[in-house]
Amino acid sequence: MTSNRKPAPDNYQPKEFSFTKENLELAKKELNKYPENRKASAVIPLLDLAQRQNSNWLPIAAINYIADFLGMPRIKAYEVATFYTMYNLSPVGENIIQICTTTPCALRGSKEIADLCKKRLNIDFGETSEDKKFTLLEVECLGACVNAPVVWIGDEYYEDLSKESMDSIIDQLKKGEIKVSPGSQIGRNGSMPSGQRSSLIDKGN
């Protein structure tokens, strides 16, 4: 299993955590959505906010901070943080590349894409590159099977990938940021057919 699911060793854990001014505002906005005695409902968005503030991973101090912030037992926030795989409990690379290897993506060649990433980044699933720029994760179905194979980087999906397009995305990432737009990499609009429309042709839209 991947290493970001267990809390980082003590020497990686920061002693303290608190929201920045901007994030505190956002957190309060989030709190306003829930009644006073149901504040704990905001735990998921707040943990996410904390993770974003802390280079994409959640230290114990941040979990404690959120729990205290919401007036809930610390263990309850910890349960949530360990349950959802999108919370990283130990440091991760700047870019997290999550490759779907479930059946539809596997049929459409996700293994080749994974092999390419492993080779290019010189890391295996669950590992972080030495320059701390990349973390590679294997994930279950991302729910975009019509555009398989799919890779999830940052907050975006990159779909209809081929070895070439993935290679270029990694190149761009290594240079700093992705230039291509997210979504289908072969120019499909959403999940429309790749070529001519083959059904419902008589309909106008």
């Binding site: 263990i75 309850k76 910890y78 360990t82 349950f83």
Partner: protein, 685 residues
């Protein structure tokens, strides 16, 4: 009332019951792991699946409320197959280590696998293994055995009020854990051992000590606090192996405190098993006659007016009664049972018992705690207050000092400070809490020992009574005045009138008069909780079962029996008379306490008028009729008590400084001293 059909049988059930409870009401047993009557419903083990007509899938009976017209089957092929399948899944990752598991023989998983499981295992892959957790000196963990029923998690959160356990991770990675390796800081933590349906959480002191079927089980009463929890003492040979709770809904439900459960190992250490006599300033072991003769000689040369007696915290009513008779015969009025200097009087019974009953807490909607720390004085009673608080219908206010510890009282409360003169404001209606008191239908006062061990105690009692009478605490159908005693012997001793007679010295005067040389002899019946060295001018007779501070300063030591070693009567804080049963024998020459006093009375020629326990109890019941109602709560007529006076602003003190060290048994217990270093030091740091 919904009508449902269970296995072709028509049943009327109460609204709001679950199917499982409905089945139980007609004697159909449903197997379960996660469901427990006293805990919130989780519905995660799936063992209680039953078939419901018109439902394509079996349903979890523990979580499904009944509704009219349901047709349930608990013995159909579908149910059998479902149980079989659930059992197989549960056993996939469960190790086959029953031969080395302490739960063996009393394990729900073992029993239900026999009743409902398959005969063989089809799973050939590797089983998962889980790291053990450190839950402190009381609870041993073998987490690979855990089946994730989350009973321990729910107990810690709901009953104990310390949310320190949780289920972390998901799926195969799920584990029961404390947050980042922290032990559970609750006085009730031992109960999760009983709750655990498998051998994941077992008792550390009991580890590999005995098998459940080898143990002799004796039903008796606990004496580590004044609650009188119903317990079962398991012995093998002469040794107490463990202490478990018995269900008594009126007193302890089915919980006991860690002190009750684990302090028994002190019964095997530092015991007084021979009489001792001080010769040439050194205590030496002697035979009974020699010890008695020494006392006899001393008593013949002492004026009755220069002899006093103090009764300690663990003494039983038979011995207190005998000692009182003896002192009557001797002619000394200097007797007292309040070794903490408490000024509670024995004349009005309603002033020193828990008048609302413990079950009254389930009705209360406002509790005013005065100088009481229920979490440490009676942890199980405190969990009852918490249970009531969780219903959302209870407000709590606290006046007094509490130790600084995690989770406070385990429920929120309005802090009224620690100065008792706040009571004046409440009585006169000039306090903000007054609105809450006035709007309460079942208001309750719980006053504790630290409010009555002061010079102005009688004024505090008087003012408290005034508040109770003024604000609807005392009615025909409700008595909300409660005294929370924290030691087991106190209510019984007060019932027996073991307080100074005419012109007699009370506890504090006994100390000063001994120092002034006005007292030549002091008889200590298991009295250990004060500085006995202050009595060093007098000849000290110590009768008790542990070589503690009392025995260290004694001139004669008479070895008595501990609570597991005698058939004795104790009165709990409600005034409920309960009897212990002898689980084992006192060591060597030690004897049951009342027999020692009876024998001594003959030697010193002041014989007391009974020769066996039946005669003793008959006389006791004749003179003190409350003792004739065993196990029953007896409500008391409301009478005035206390003396009007001014209350000063000295803060109320802590009532208990160290939960784990409150009597000689706990001080001799290794487990308790481990708890102290684990939990109490954490508080002090």
């Amino acid at each position: 009332m919904p009508k449902i059909k269970i296995n072709e049988q028509e049943v009327d059930v109460e609204n709001g019951l679950t199917i499982l409870q409905a089945c139980e009401s007609i004697g159909i047993e449903i197997p379960r792991f996660c469901y427990h009557e006293k805990l919130s419903i989780a519905g995660n083990c799936r063992m209680c699946l039953v078939e419901m007509e018109k439902s394509p899938k079996p349903i979890a009976s523990c979580a499904m409320p009944v509704s009219d017209g349901m047709v349930i089957f608990t013995n159909s092929p579908m149910v059998k197959k479902a149980r079989n399948g659930v059992m197989e899944f549960l056993l996939i990752n469960h190790p086959l280590d029953c031969p080395i598991c302490d739960q063996g023989g009393e394990c729900d998983l073992q029993d239900q696998a026999m009743s409902y499981g398959r005969d063989s295992n089809r799973y050939i892959e590797n089983k998962r293994a889980v790291n053990d957790k450190d839950l402190g000196p009381l609870i041993k963990t073998v987490m690979t055995r855990c089946i994730h029923c989350t009973r321990c998690v729910r107990f810690a959160q709901d009953v104990a009020g310390v949310s320190e356990l949780g289920a972390t991770g998901r799926g195969e990675e799920m584990e029961i854990d404390t947050f980042v390796e922290k032990t559970i800081s609750s006085e009730l933590s031992g109960n999760i051992i009983d709750l655990c349906p498998v051998g994941a959480l077992t008792s550390k002191p009991y580890a590999f000590e005995a098998r459940s079927w080898e143990l002799q089980k004796t039903e008796t009463i606990d004496i580590h606090d004044a609650l009188g929890s119903n317990i079962r003492v398991d012995t093998r040979g002469r040794e107490v192996k463990r202490v478990l709770p018995r269900i008594n809904e009126d007193i302890n439900e089915e919980w006991i405190s860690d002190k009750t459960r684990f302090a028994f190992d002190g019964l095997g250490c530092k015991r007084l098993d021979r009489p001792w006599l001080k010769k040439d300033n050194k205590l030496v072991e002697v035979e009974w006659p020699e010890a008695f003769n020494a006392i006899s000689e001393k008593i013949q040369s002492t004026e009755p007016n220069k002899i006093a007696a103090i009764v300690g915290d663990l003494a039983d009513c038979e011995s207190i009664f005998s000692l009182k008779k003896l002192f009557n015969n001797i002619g000394s009025p200097h007797i007292d049972c309040r070794q903490d200097g408490s000024l509670v009087d024995s004349s009005v019974r309603g002033s020193y018992i828990f008048n609302s009953e413990i079950t009254g807490i389930d009705r209360a909607d406002f509790i005013l705690l005065i100088g009481s720390d229920p979490r440490w004085e009676a942890p199980v009673l405190n969990s009852r207050i918490r249970k009531r608080y969780l219903t959302g219908m209870l407000d709590i206010a606290h006046l007094g000092t509490l130790p600084s510890r995690e989770n406070g009282l385990t429920y929120p409360y309005t802090n009224l400070g620690s100065e008792p003169n706040v009571l004046d404001d409440i009585a006169s209606g000039n306090h903000e809490i007054i609105e809450k008191i006035k709007s309460a239908k079942f208001p309750m006062i719980i006053i504790g020992n630290s409010a009555v061990c002061r010079s102005d105690s009688l004024a505090i009692l008087h003012k408290t009574r005034e508040i109770a009478e003024k604000y609807n605490f005392i009615r025909e159908d409700w008595n909300g005045f409660n005294f929370l005693n924290s030691v087991a012997s106190r209510v019984g001793a007060l019932d027996l009138g073991f307080v100074p007679g005419d012109g007699g010295y009370d506890f504090n005067s006994i100390i000063t008069n001994s120092a002034n040389g006005n007292l030549d002899m002091v008889y200590l019946l298991a009295a250990d909780e004060f500085d006995v060295e202050k009595l060093s001018n007098s000849f000290i007779i110590y009768q008790g079962h542990h070589g503690d501070i009392g025995a260290r300063n004694a001139d004669v030591i008479l070895p008595g029996a501990a609570y597991t070693e005698k058939n004795a009567t104790y009165v709990n804080l409600e005034g409920r008379v309960q009897r212990t049963s002898k689980a084992t024998f006192p060591p060597n020459d030690a004897r049951e306490d009342w027999t020692i006093i009876r024998a001594l009375s003959a030697v010193i020629k002041f014989p007391i008028p009974f020769d066996n326990i039946v005669e003793l109890r008959q006389l006791m019941e004749k003179e003190y009729p409350v003792f004739s109602n065993i196990d029953l709560f007896q409500s008391q007529e409301w009478k005035p008590f206390g003396i009007s006076g001014s209350i000063n602003d000295t803060p109320l003190e802590l009532s208990i400084r160290d939960f784990y060290m409150t009597n000689p048994i706990t001080r001799a217990s290794q487990t308790m001293s481990l708890c102290r270093s684990e939990f109490i030091k954490r508080i002090n740091n």
